[in-house]
């Protein structure tokens, strides 16, 4: 008993003596993020590697819950004047962050601290989404874009060729055959508004909102009830009625149905590759293809989703110096290639794409190439550079509510989309009134 006490005291004494020297030597930088499971482990790995690479700064990666939770935590902390240095914010929060006045723009931070990062190396779709006046306001981190997945086993059973359907006509034909051959779900999609409305508009060079999707000024109304939007929703409504399209819920809930081998054709984020690989192991085989196109509409490009790292105001200069160093480390080709390789997110710099090609990564993981090829072959136009809306999460909600009303046949495609536009206009007007 006594020896235990003595030993405990000794350990404590050493800890007390040793701790200040460590704490004094390193400036701590808080990084709040929303990455779970494997992705969370990778984030910790990044922080650990950076911490080991130098002696001045210590990045502390802290998981703060879902994307909305993380943003709310950062907002609360900022209002309490104790903000984290770096916070990961999802793409729909971009306008909120840009308007907030709480942000230290990344391009400026890096320049102010004498660090050079080659921003021109950042791939176009990512750069355009998060830039204002040609300058990146947040540090590109995890980006993905939707692609098409198909279940090879179900295709074989249905007598379909082992090839991804390239158009919506082909998707419909394949899904019908799949259902006829006993598949429970011919076609389905995760993240309904993102894959089926936002991305379909961008992919076909159709405007999603006014003011160039909110890039030329605060958007005030959506444009999704035009001929393209209606055609798209009528197609899906018919699909739901005829049984070749199964709606499986909001967020990524539908991934459960693809993952257990029910669905033949499926749309989701390219970042789903990792999880699908694990879910399908030993059960079924699958492959990816570019997003299906609707005949008669022009070529645009798919847009990205995911999140970026924002730097908040209110920290000390020497801490910002550390953040700049950390971002330089993050932006290195080696790091970008590693991060994209282990997660399935798209590499965000051209040099990382080249490095991955050179190392033969894509010949080993061909499915990861689909998203990159899709983005490279697309045409970046004002309609496909991204979407920037105030209160975007509420707008997305309004759209998904009406998608459900359309798919269930409660409303016509036009009626549903008109209602979504009316509700969104109200939401956007509120945001505009705040920042007029």
């Amino acid at each position: 008993m006594k020896s235990l006490l003595v030993r405990t005291l000794a350990v404590l004494a050493v800890a007390v003596l040793a701790a200040p020297s460590v704490a004094l030597a390193k400036t701590e930088l808080a990084w709040w993020h929303a990455m779970t499971a494997v992705l969370g482990e990778r984030v910790n790995e990044i922080a650990a590697k950076f911490n080991a690479s130098q002696n001045d700064y210590e990045v502390k990666a802290v998981y703060k819950g879902s994307y909305p939770d993380t943003l709310n935590a950062a907002i609360a902390a900022y209002r309490a004047k104790q903000p984290p240095h770096i916070v990961q914010v999802y793409e729909v929060g971009t306008q909120t962050m840009l308007s907030s006045g709480a942000v230290y723009p990344v391009f400026q931070l890096v320049r102010d601290h004498g660090v050079t990062i080659d921003w021109n190396d950042v791939i176009g779709p990512v750069k355009s989404y998060y830039s204002q006046g040609g300058n990146l306001y947040s540090m590109a981190f995890n980006s993905s874009t939707p692609v098409l997945f198909y279940n090879k086993d179900l295709f074989k059973k249905a007598g379909l060729p082992d090839k991804a359907p390239a158009t919506w006509d082909e998707v419909e034909a394949a899904a019908k055959k799949l259902v006829a051959s006993g598949a429970k779900c011919g076609f389905s999609a995760a993240w309904p508004s993102w894959t089926l409305v936002e991305n379909m508009h961008a992919l076909h060079d159709q405007p999603f909102a006014d003011h160039a999707n909110g890039f030329d000024g605060l958007a005030t109304t959506l444009k999704i009830n035009g001929p393209f939007g209606i055609t798209m929703m009528e197609l899906l409504q018919r699909g739901a009625k005829e049984g070749w399209f199964t709606y499986n819920g909001r967020l990524n809930k539908a991934e459960a149905n693809m993952g257990n081998g029910e669905c033949g054709v499926f749309l989701s984020s390219s970042a789903y590759i990792g999880n699908l690989t694990r879910a399908s192991e030993g059960k079924f085989t699958w492959a990816t293809g570019p997003l299906p196109r609707l005949a008669g509409f022009p070529q645009g490009n798919s847009i990205i989703g995911g999140a970026t790292l924002w730097v908040l105001k209110g920290a000390k200069p020497e801490e910002y110096k550390g953040v700049a160093q950390f971002f330089k480390y993050l932006a290195s080709t080696e790091n970008q290639a590693w991060w994209a390789g282990v997660t399935g997110y798209i590499p965000i710099s051209n040099s990382a794409v080249k490095a991955m090609e050179a190392s033969g990564h894509f010949s080993k993981n061909p499915q990861q190439l689909t998203a990159i090829k899709q983005m490279q072959s697309g045409k970046t136009t004002p309609n496909s550079q991204g979407i920037r809306l105030g209160n975007f999460p509420s707008v997305r909600d309004a759209i998904e509510e009406q998608m459900e009303n359309i798919f269930s046949g409660k409303k016509t495609a036009k009626q549903g989309l008109d209602d979504a536009v009316a509700k969104s206009t109200d939401i956007l007007k509120e945001f505009a009134a705040l920042y007029k």
Binding site: P68, L71, N72, I75, Y78, R79, T96, S99, S100, G101, A102, K184, C185, A240, Y247, N248, G249, R250, L251, K253, A256, N257, N260, E262, N391, P393, S394, D397, E400, E401, Q402, E404, N405, F407, S408, K410, K423, D426, I427, E430, A433, L434, Y435
Partner: protein, 293 residues
């Protein structure tokens, strides 16, 4: 009522002080802050605060979706409370009988209360799930109708109601059991002798004598289904399909914490607060008179 006498004048105040501080700090302060915020259009990071008077409330009551949500909430709460209490009373009466292994049944019946609403939702989600749920699978033998709560509002609503009732069931049962055991058997025996059958005995004696318990549980279940079911909705339907299961408390959360429309969300919480105050006041004013203690 019996008056307790404390030796020191200040001791009773000191004893209730912690509770009062907690109430002021965690209930009154946020409530007043919501009241204040509901009059503003506020930016998330707090840099803009524009006074709009009753603008947020006007926006609320001009929104059909909000009025629909109010109906949804009342229907949901009423069904959860009434069906939940009726079922609990029925099972409590049965569990009050003298049968073998009674304690085991009782313990089993109490279990669901220990489960968080969100978890209860997930459990029932597995039962109802259109592709791997057991219920749609069983029903597929009887009917060709597809019970898909991703698209059918009423199926989603039913799922939530069942889960909420089930979750609250153990709690209601425990109170009813205690209430039943407090009833003097002599009274029931006397009625028996007078020729009253079990049903007559229940409605003439047991039910009136249980009225304080019923009253208490009614208020509690209404509040539970109005507020605590947030986790359930969040985990299972996210308010959909369409806005079929978008109850008031879920909307307030969604507009506030996902949509970051703080003033608008605060206005919704003020409406909720007013509703609960009115509801409780009405219950105490009218229902209490009919309750026999």
């Amino acid at each position: 009522m019996k008056r307790s006498v404390f030796p020191n004048r200040w001791l009773p105040y000191a004893l209730v002080a912690p509770q009062i501080v907690i109430t002021l700090l965690f209930f009154f302060w946020p409530a007043f802050d919501s009241l204040r915020l509901s009059l503003y259009r506020a930016s998330p990071f707090g840099d803009r605060l524009i006074y709009v008077g009753l603008g947020n409330f006007r926006r609320l009551f001009q929104d059909d979706a909000y009025l629909r949500s109010m109906t949804t909430s009342f229907v949901f709460s009423a069904v959860v409370t009434l069906v939940g209490l009726a079922l609990a009373l029925l099972l409590a009466s049965l569990a009050n009988a003298k049968i073998r292994g009674l304690t085991v049944y009782r313990s089993l019946l109490l279990w669901p209360y220990g489960i968080a609403p969100a978890i209860a939702g997930i459990i029932w989600l597995f039962v109802f799930h259109p592709s791997y749920g057991i219920l749609p699978w069983l029903l597929s033998f009887v009917t060709a109708y597809r019970f898909n709560w991703f698209l059918e509002g009423w199926v989603a609503m039913m799922l939530l109601i069942v889960a909420a009732i089930w979750k609250q069931f153990g709690y209601n049962l425990a109170f009813y059991l205690a209430g039943l055991q407090a009833i003097e058997t002599a009274v029931l025996e006397a009625a028996s002798v007078d020729g009253a059958g079990p049903i007559r005995r229940f409605f003439a004696i047991t039910f009136p004598l249980l009225s304080p318990v019923t009253f208490f549980l009614f208020t509690l279940n209404m509040t539970f289904s109005f507020f605590d079911t947030f986790g359930l909705v969040h985990a299972v339907t996210q308010g959909g399909p369409g806005d079929a299961t978008s109850i008031l408390v879920y909307r307030a959360w969604k507009d506030g914490f996902e949509g970051l429309q703080l003033g608008y969300s605060a206005a919704q919480s003020v409406v909720l607060m007013a509703l609960v105050i009115v509801l409780t006041a009405v219950q105490f004013r009218f229902a209490e008179k009919k309750v026999t203690y």
